[in-house]
Symmetry: C2
Amino acid sequence: MNINLNISSFVNEPNFNSISPDKIYDTLIIGGGPAGLTAAVYCMRKGMKTALVLKKAGGQVAETASIENYPGYSYIDGNDLTLKFREQVMQFGIDYAENVSAERIIQGNVKKTLLDNGSAVSSKSIIIATGKKWKKLNIPGEERLINRGVAYCSICDGPLFAGKKVAVAGGGNSGVQAAIDLAKIASVVYLIQHRDRLKADEILVNSLKKFSNVEYLLGHEIREIHGEKEVEKITVENLSGNSSFEIPLNGVFVEIGMIPNTGFLNDVLKLNAFNEIPVDHLCRTEAAGVFAAGDVTDVRYKQIIVAAGEGAKAALSAYDYINFEFV
Amino acid sequence: MNINLNISSFVNEPNFNSISPDKIYDTLIIGGGPAGLTAAVYCMRKGMKTALVLKKAGGQVAETASIENYPGYSYIDGNDLTLKFREQVMQFGIDYAENVSAERIIQGNVKKTLLDNGSAVSSKSIIIATGKKWKKLNIPGEERLINRGVAYCSICDGPLFAGKKVAVAGGGNSGVQAAIDLAKIASVVYLIQHRDRLKADEILVNSLKKFSNVEYLLGHEIREIHGEKEVEKITVENLSGNSSFEIPLNGVFVEIGMIPNTGFLNDVLKLNAFNEIPVDHLCRTEAAGVFAAGDVTDVRYKQIIVAAGEGAKAALSAYDYINFEFV
């Protein structure tokens, strides 16, 4: 479920063209989050022949309500920031395909990227900015009850739980941010974290503490999600006491982080232990002509401003590659 | 000369405190450009005890007229963006000192930074974001005629040359951007570049070509700047012909790049051949607890968005250092 469909689509924009199967692009950008869209602006300004394939403009940003740490905006919501990033790309007549994922890259001097819509893109360089997707708990009931009470995006799905009881699994920044969002909407929020402390930013933890309808279950883990047609209750284990108990509720938000979208890269790049793409300080990967930026890389800090900065670097590295290394 | 004094000063802000000589800060940020100010936002949000010393808020951004490649703003001028960065820091009660430079860092578990106002700051970590300063031509007449026709910041000083003849030395992005700015103001702009082509972004070169009052002297170099009290003419050499000639004019803008402000670091860090600070992809330097971000580093691409992203990374790296490495 996504409340942002109204702004996230590039389709029907007069300024956008289809990707040509016959062209050899200077660069193909895969991904439409802050890293990919910033890379697009930089490539187009450099006059590079640029193709952009993306699933959805904005990426995770489009799923974020309040952003207070993007320099230049003391406060902006994710929809608005996505719109602004998008407008900036739209100034240029970029070749693009939307609702599309890469399936495989065939390395070579000119690289060929196969897409899941059956087409292929040829390019001298590639910028991978495919981001991450939600991590799952992998417990009984989770998969079966997705979109029937089990959710991952508090911004998208939170409003469905007005006045209801929900649990948030995870005490990092995403967990605490989700709990804050949900505390404004739900009647009770159970924040469940296997560690004995919250590891989110102090400023977020302090914000959360202002809500009286949040119950903290530190040192606890959800073991099972129950429900016939919808979520009805969860089984929670107390890790220190080895005891478990049930909580009746309506929703479970799984906020334990993300995994990188790197499944299509097996042939091309060695990934790190977290399946992220190792990059150097100029966003170069181990493969000549392949660059990566944003949450998909081993840059530890998953922040919008970091992804945007890395997107610019990847674009300029690709530009230098085309001009000084590509033969 | 600086037309931005109205917004660049932190002084007299109720939300700002003096730096205490008795505190041991978690981090000291040196520099007030996009890297330093972004680092400040991230450190404060993490609840770190943070000190900020800077010469001038905004750094080079405050000297830039039109910015079209900062994601989130299709167009913004440097003054406005500086103001927005600054507001975002101002939300927090940060300890700061302005109009101040670092003179020396004494390494150690707790580091001591000596400032040119005679005071010292103790901190567990340091984030260096001191940026760069204008590079000089080092030719006869340049030093003597600074502010008397020789200028480095077209945004700051361009308006003084309305209807006059000026030369711009440099055909990279800063040279071409300066020529664009000046073509709107001056009667004639001579763009002088030692290479036989402009190496600026295509989009900038195309913008410049719209002006009919720009004369291109590619493969040329300025050899001397002449004038009694003010700039009167320059001697230009044609590099291919080994001939030289004079051009009468009123101003010379030197736009050949910048050199990093790293003179105070001799004791602490090894610098690269350009006197930049080598960093890894997490903005760590070779010295434990010392981080660097922005134009002062060996990240090749000197862009506002890159500097801001690196500032966030340096802050989060410093936070991790304090929590997991500092003893």
